[in-house]
Assembly symmetry: C2
Homo-oligomer: 230 residues x 2
């Protein structure tokens, strides 16, 4: 079966633009089944009753974005993550990213439908200046800057482990609504994610080194699409 | 050694912001060595003599961006790819992306230093309109639109296999300078990449399903950094 699939992959097939995504998710479902992976359809706690957001569509969208089935194992959700995500998105929260790439990847039409907003401070001149003076990363300063926001915040971190450390250290002031912690890389990435997992902050984290701005955006979109029926 | 590294990974270390990337690349070098992978330092053909761009820094930056060592095997370069990249970037080419994410990830300071430019047509209203009328993807229309450009083009495709098909079908009119073909996904992605590999278009391609807008941007940046000394 795997061979037939790869053979098919080498031949271009005609498919309508609006059917590509549906077919992609069908293939992902088939391959998850072939690999014997059963994704959780619901959170493990009772608090999830009535929540319209499920884990499986989030995990599948990340696999769709990366073609990497590792995320079927890597993605961890705190018990309260999805119910928090629904509450935050339905009450017009702010989504703060740590890269302009993640910002660019978040679906603006879905944001509009929900009355939510996306912000990224990383390209601000004064963020760069303050970071240079203090000898910290721009991501650290960017996260601190969210103290000024007067709305609840979902942090979508796809690049900088220092962003996660900054959120953790300032958690009493920031009161993070939800942290999507999926930075990628080799220095402090694993440890920064474990810091979030060990805290009482609601989280969706890609355990290990993998992640990225594309993964952060995919998770935000997957959460939103379950509420907007896209 | 792997155990010690994993232990270290779980502890946050203090590191200056400007040293994070250097340390990351050092870890990548160490792990490539542990895995017995030797990256090519130069292209295999004589045409490469005098070219300032090498393959290894491109491959390593993609691994840095994804934490995925699969790219040590997946990334294929046509023999003329790097010498073409150098000529194009040094003569102020246009880089055309198939997503706003890839556009956002390409380093604008490096572009400025080289007098190069980056364009993405994907969010244009009239591209969406034409695509809907014709029943094709916006990526198809976006690539066709580059016929209007009066400068040589590097195509950086991180998302849509239809973009690669469009470039291939219009290659005599478009005369693509270089195609960075790294779309990700499950439908027509493998076949579209093989189409480029089998053509006489200069290419850098991530063979198989993997890739992404982040990978496309990382490749463009890795090419530019070797010319700008960042």
């Amino acid at each position: 079966m795997m061979e037939r699939k790869e053979q098919m992959d080498r031949e271009l097939i005609y498919i309508k633009p609006d059917e590509i995504e549906t077919k992609s998710f069908k293939i992902i479902d088939e391959e998850l089944a072939m690999r014997g992976i059963v994704l959780p359809l619901e959170a493990s706690d009772k608090a999830h009753d009535g929540c319209r957001i499920r884990r499986a569509p989030v995990i599948k969208r990340v696999i769709h974005t990366t073609a990497d089935f590792d995320y079927a194992d890597n993605l961890l959700f705190s018990d309260d993550a999805l119910i928090r995500a629904e509450k935050l998105l339905m009450s017009g929260c702010v989504i703060v990213t740590d890269t302009n790439m993640a910002y660019a990847g978040i679906n603006k039409k879905a944001l509009d439908k929900l009355g939510a907003e996306c912000i990224c401070y990383m390209a601000d001149e004064d963020v760069a200046r303050e970071a240079a003076v203090r000898g910290v990363t721009r991501a650290t300063v960017s996260m601190e800057r969210t103290i000024e926001l007067d709305r609840p915040v979902i942090y979508a971190v796809g690049n900088a482990p220092t962003a996660l450390v900054s959120i953790y250290e300032n958690r009493l002031k920031l009161r993070p609504g939800l942290v999507i912690g999926v930075p990628v890389g080799f220095v402090n990435v694993v440890a920064a994610k474990e810091l979030i997992i060990s805290s009482d902050i609601p989280y969706i984290v890609a355990r290990g080194r993998k992640g990225g701005s594309n993964v952060a955006a995919a998770i935000v979109n997957a959460l939103m699409y379950q509420l907007t029926d896209r």
